[in-house]
């Protein structure tokens, strides 16, 4: 009777004999989140297709694009912005209708936008994830810090995160926090001289200087060399010391995942029983392809993921898809210290002042993170001095003097989720593939606006503490490219898109691997949390498929 066994197996799985799938799992998007999920699933023996709208480009080519650009300050510019895979580089990619011009740096190529980030890999605080119950504002996550902790650890190991095991990352000056089950995979990089000087003079004023855990390895790790301070994290790490999703796209392929480039997903197809049965993609040549799988993970960026769901009329019974959009809208400040601090040695950032990351003030105004930026300051310094009319030997002297004393703070605020801040497929505009482009409505909320004076007061204290000369505090608000909330996570299917496992409430075989699920933004760069959630998704699917 052995010949009957296959029939029984099929019968038990509740599928018909005729049904075959192109893969166990299809992952839409080869960024850090999608690639990590794809890798974990392929490693677990599942057949995986990893789809990418853009192309694969070797690092050396991007490095050369970066050097040979006449627009070095535009981090998107070294990457292609081809008409069939537009990015935020193009005006026509998205239209803003709100008071703020939301235009996050984002990329379409294998590895995604982590090609240009500064690799900050913070964990959320327990209180970040219980914002509503702790401070009475915003939303709670449906899962707790403890629930996520093991996956934070795995994400840190995947990315090669370096960090201090001894600091209170909440910025409150206490012991090591948040709690960790294991030490950081790698020790922190050396403290830059600039950081030492700012800390030495400003911490006596009560400011807590915190190392930023990051994914620039301090020792060779997973085929990557140690960071040597080439100071080009954005727009591209020239040596691959800094993590980018491309590493795990490669790893996923090495363990059997199939990578498809030039494949822009434009439709998720619904089937019986609330299942998603297929994804449709279009190539640059206009070919349409339908792929089927048992499970789907959409990991297509915080703006593109809700667009794909809305275009497909999927997962939106709550009407929350695309809403609650949050960025860590920010401001910046430059000043000249009274002593040589020599910014620009080491990576482009390595920590900052965290006193307002947490605390009772969050009942009234947003949490604040002051990060110290550390790019080689010459481009900014020289442009400013030439504008001022300096020429000749005096220009050189002033460049040296000001570059040695230049300090830049980059500050972010915690946004709250508002259904009116939203991303949608554009009602009329279509891209070269005939797919709707994006429209965004984004207003900075009062919670953030109320925090700004506190941040600016800190700025003035910093400048005074360094006996410095203020250059500028930015006007208006700045993009920080941290997209959250757009497919918001929650316990209640009526007001959220995914559950605590990132599974859509409406379709039990559809998961969303994007920072767009994050329901409470805190002030920390959300990528590590996104990767942790993605690995958690992979574990959940691996048990079911």
């Amino acid at each position: 009777m052995a010949w009957l066994c296959p029939f029984f197996n099929i019968f038990e799985k509740g599928i018909t004999m005729a049904e075959t799938f192109d893969a166990d799992v299809i992952v839409v998007g080869s960024g850090a989140l999608g690639s990590n999920a794809a890798y974990e699933l392929a490693k677990a023996g599942k057949s995986v297709i990893l789809m990418e709208a853009g192309l694969r480009i070797p690092r050396w080519k991007i490095v050369q694009n970066s050097r040979n650009s006449s627009r070095r300050s535009d981090y998107n510019r070294p990457y292609p912005d081809v008409e069939w895979a537009r990015t935020t580089e193009s005006d026509e990619y998205l239209e803003n209708t709100g008071s703020f011009d939301l235009r996050p740096g984002m990329l379409k190529l294998v590895g995604g936008t982590t090609w240009h980030w500064a690799a900050a890999t913070w964990r959320y605080l327990p209180s970040d994830m219980k914002l509503k119950s702790t401070y009475g504002v915003g939303r709670d996550w449906p899962i707790s810090y403890d629930d996520l902790e093991p996956w934070y650890q795995r994400a840190e190991e995947a990315l090669g995160v370096v960090g201090s095991d001894e600091q209170d990352q909440s910025g409150q000056g206490g012991g090591a926090y948040p709690p960790r089950s294991k030490p950081y995979p790698l020790p922190p990089e050396g403290k830059t001289y600039m950081f030492q000087r700012l800390e030495a003079r400003l911490s006596p004023l009560g400011f807590n200087f915190i190392h930023e855990p990051n994914a620039r390895v301090t020792k060779p790790y997973d085929g990557r060399p140690a960071c040597a301070g080439n100071n080009n994290c954005m727009p591209v790490c020239p040596i691959g010391a800094m993590y980018s999703g491309g590493f795990h796209a490669d790893h996923a392929e090495a363990v059997g995942a199939k990578l498809l480039t030039d494949a822009t997903a434009y439709k998720l197809e619904k089937g019986a029983g609330g299942k998603i049965v297929a994804v449709h993609y279009r190539t640059s040549k206009g070919e349409d392809v339908r792929l089927t799988a048992r499970y789907f993970i959409v990991a297509a960026h915080g703006l593109e993921t809700p667009k794909l769901l809305l275009m497909s009329d999927v997962a939106n019974s709550s009407d929350q898809v695309g809403r609650n959009l949050m960025d860590h809208t920010g401001i910046g400040m430059h000043f000249l210290a009274d002593e040589e601090v020599w910014g620009g040695r080491g990576a482009v950032q390595q920590g900052g002042v965290f006193n307002r990351r947490d605390g009772e003030h969050r009942r009234d105004y947003a949490a604040i993170k002051h990060a110290i930026a550390n790019p080689v300051p010459n481009p900014a310094v020289a442009a400013r001095l030439i504008d001022q009319g300096l020429l000749g030997p005096e220009l050189d002297r002033r460049i040296r003097d000001e570059a040695s004393r230049w300090v830049e703070f980059s500050t972010v605020f915690e946004m709250l989720p508002h259904p009116t801040n939203r991303v949608q497929p554009h009602p009329t505009r279509r891209d070269a593939l005939g797919i709707p482009t994006l429209t965004v409505h984004y207003d900075v909320d009062d919670y953030v606006k109320a925090a700004r004076p506190h941040a600016e007061a800190d700025f003035h204290t910093f400048v005074k503490g360094m006996n410095g000369q203020l250059i500028d505090i930015s006007e208006g608000w700045q993009n920080r490219d941290h997209l959250m909330g757009s497919v918001i996570m929650g316990a209640d299917p009526k007001d959220s898109v995914v559950d605590g496992d990132c599974r859509t409430h409406d379709h039990d075989n559809l998961f969303l691997a994007t920072t767009g699920v994050i329901p409470a933004s805190g002030v920390i760069n959300p990528t590590l949390t996104g990767v942790a959630l993605s690995i958690r998704i992979a574990d959940a699917i691996a048990k079911e498929v």
């Binding site: 853009g54 192309l55 480009i57 070797p58 690092r59 050396w60 080519k61 490095v63 050369q64 694009n65 050097r67 040979n68 650009s69 006449s70 070294p78 990457y79 292609p80 912005d81 081809v82 008409e83 190529l109 020792k219 060779p220 085929g223 990557r224 060399p225 140690a226 040597a228 080439n230 020239p238 040596i239 691959g240 490669d250």
Partner: protein, 475 residues
Amino acid sequence: MKFLISVTAACLSLVVASPSFAQDAQPDFTDKALIARGAAVATAGDCAACHRAVEPSGPQYVGGYEIASPLGAIVAPNITPSKSAGIGDWSFADFDRAMRKGKRRDGANLYPAMPYTDYQGVSTADMQALYAYFMHGVKPVDTKAPETHLPFPFGIRMLMTPWNWMFRSDKPFKATETLSTQAQRGQYLVETLGHCGSCHTPRNVLMAEKSGEALGGGDIGGWHAPNITSDPISGIGGWRQDELVAYLRDGRAPGKGVAAGGMAEAVEHSLQHLPDADLEAIAAYLKASDPIRNPDEKRPAFAWTQARPIKLAAYEPGNGTDEASYADSSTTDGAFLYAGACASCHGRDGKGTKDHFYPPLVGSVTTGAVNPANLIMTILGGVDRKSGVGHAFMPAFADQMSDAQVAAVANHVLQRFGRSQTSVTATMVATARAGGPEPLLLKLMPWLMGLAALALAVVAYVSIRKSSGRKSRVG
């Protein structure tokens, strides 16, 4: 006296089959000092390089690691004292026979990936210490390493019997009398435990070290283990003693070059741990060794110290105007590839960094060699070497460049920073990717298999004749 001991050792090794005799001469293998000495001998012999776990973090000497040989992967066995999976049941005689004659305890032949032709000369004292260490200093691990399965006909271990007749000698190690005591010690380390010749001596058609060309340079797995004889042009004659010692200990010698591939492993696992006196001895011996000259070489490989500058515009042509050009990585412009892939660390001028964290490409044996194998392999596979001066690491570019691109960037490096007469073709890169040129042995296999069969038949005939003759005498 030394000679006498050696002769005695040789006699011992000839009669190890007689257990009672061997045991009489044996020390207390549980002696702590002996075990500690054995650990040092194991380090000098670099046993861990091959007999390691698949995972770098795995237990010591557990085996399982696949040694890439041109004839197929050879799996290093478990040599922990586990009775079920390792060599826990082995007597000293078993151990000694394996080490010197390449015979397993069950009598089967080892493959000469195990350098028993070199270990043959290890002193009895060292061998006993080594045995003590493996029996009592190493933690037993009961994980059996998989069997080696070489493709036919190499899977027939019997084939090694005639090979051993041809290439294995029972001659004990004998230092060259004219050498200094220091150099004699170096000679012992180089020729026996260090088994330097297994890479640095060219191999003949049957993959045995060519006896007349000791340390004259050999090809292994796509790499070229260079000539390390005392010749000032082709060998290490132009290296100062302290440079050789630094290279062996640190894996780098400023102005000379850095260790990659198998040499990086030898430094990491073995050489850096040797006492300075032994490194000095090795260097002294190499500097006193018989010189071998490659007539094609007119200048030492490290002596290409002048970078030939190129206009900055070659590195910075400016970006194209159409978006597709940002994704187009098809170029075979060596300067462009160098700028994107190499210059971030090695500099536009090929000088590396002042602190030697990134080595220079000028004045380097890798870029100044007649044979570009190591340059190609370094670009393809990178460098990974831990030593007392840090963890040197270069990422692999095999997945980021085509064969033609690797050739182009290698030629740029050779023309600008190294020996410009050396050149690289895409075909050479493809061969290197495949693990180096196919040995003649494989190419000749159809004929050799015929020969081998013939040889086996002769062997079988002779041994039957011999044994029947003996029988008749006994009978």
